[in-house]
Symmetry: C2
Subunit: 146 residues, 2 copies
DNA sequence: TTCTTAAATTATAATCTTTATAAATAGTGT
DNA sequence: ACACTATTTATAAAGATTATAATTTAAGAA
C-alpha cells in the first residue's frame, strides 16, 4: 500500500527529472508512513539517526521540490512552523485548538465554491484550502470532568 | 459607518477590561479603514509617522489582544508574515498567487461542512477557514498578451 | 483633580523558522 | 568508468515573532 505510494512518488521524481537521492527517498518514505503532519524540523530530527550529516537546508529544499511537483502539500496554520502532508486524495483537516491534534476527513463537492469565487472575482482559480477548528473529543472530555 | 465600527470595537475593549491606549485606537482605526489585509509591519510602518516611538512589539501585542477578543482575524498564508483582518461579516478571500492580491467575496452555507466534520471526527467544532487560490484578472491578462 | 496601581509601552535582545551561499559530493546518462 | 550537473552540506544571514526589564500611562478611587 504505502510501498506503492512510495514507488509512484519516486516515479514522479524520475519523470520530472529530479534526481533520486537517499535523502529524498527517506523524506518521502517518512512523509508517507507518518500519519501525522510533520514540520520540517520533525522530519530533520526523525532522520538524523540515519543521516547524521544531513542539513536542515536539505529538508527544506526537498520539501519545496516535492511541493512544486505536487507530491506534498504545505499547510500553514497560525503556529510558528509549516507542516507538510503527503498528497493522497482530497481530504481536509480538523485541528484541535487545545492540543493541536490534526484529524483528516474526506468531504466532496467544495468545487462549487471555486466556481462561485471565480465568477464573482474574475479570478482564474486553481485550488482552495479549508480547515476546521475546534476541540477534539479527548480535550472536550477532560474539561467536562473537573 | 467605519466610525461606528471603531466605536463598537472600542466598546468591546472596555467590556473586556482592556485599556484603550492611543496606540490601540490607531491600530484599530487603521485596520478598519484599510481595505487591504496588512501585516504587522505594514501597520507599524503606517503609524510610525503618528507614533515615532512605537515599538513593533506593541503592534504584535495588540494584534494578539484583538485576536483574543475576536475583533481581528489572523490569516496565515504560505508567505513569510501573517496578515490581519478586521472581523466584519462572514467573508472569504481569493488570493492571487502571482501578485499576492487578496479579494473578498461573500459565500453562505459552509456550515454544513462544520456539521459534517463534527459528526465524523467527534470534534467540538468552533469555526473554519477557507481560501481560494488562483490568478487575478490582471495577472492572467498580462500572461495572455506576450 | 490628584493619587495609586496595575497594565501597557518602549527599547532591546533573543529565539525560531526559513532561505541564501559556496564548496564538496554524488546521481545519471553516455 | 567518466563527465556533467544537480544536490548536499555547513554555515551564515535574513526575517518574523516573542521575551525581558525598565519606564510610562490609563483608569478607577479618594
Amino acid at each position: 500500500m504505502s510501498e506503492d505510494m512510495l514507488k509512484e512518488a519516486l516515479h514522479s521524481l524520475k519523470d520530472t527529472g529530479v534526481r533520486i537521492t537517499p535523502q529524498r527517498h527517506a523524506i518521502l518514505e517518512y512523509l508517507i508512513n507518518s500519519m501525522s503532519h510533520p514540520t520540517a524540523d520533525d522530519i530533520y530530527k526523525a532522520l538524523e539517526g540515519t543521516f547524521p550529516n544531513m542539513s536542515v537546508a536539505t529538508v527544506y529544499n526537498n520539501l519545496r521540490v516535492f511541493r512544486e511537483i505536487g507530491l506534498v502539500k504545505e499547510l500553514t496554520y497560525g503556529d510558528s512552523s509549516a507542516r507538510f502532508d503527503f498528497v493522497t486524495t482530497n481530504h481536509y483537516h480538523v485541528i484541535c485548538q487545545e492540543c493541536g491534534k490534526i484529524v483528516d476527513f474526506h468531504y466532496p463537492g467544495l468545487d462549487e465554491v471555486e466556481h462561485f469565487a471565480s465568477q464573482v472575482t474574475g479570478f482564474n482559480v486553481s485550488h482552495h484550502r479549508m480547515e476546521i477548528y475546534g476541540e477534539c473529543p479527548e480535550c472536550s472530555g477532560t474539561k467536562e470532568v473537573h
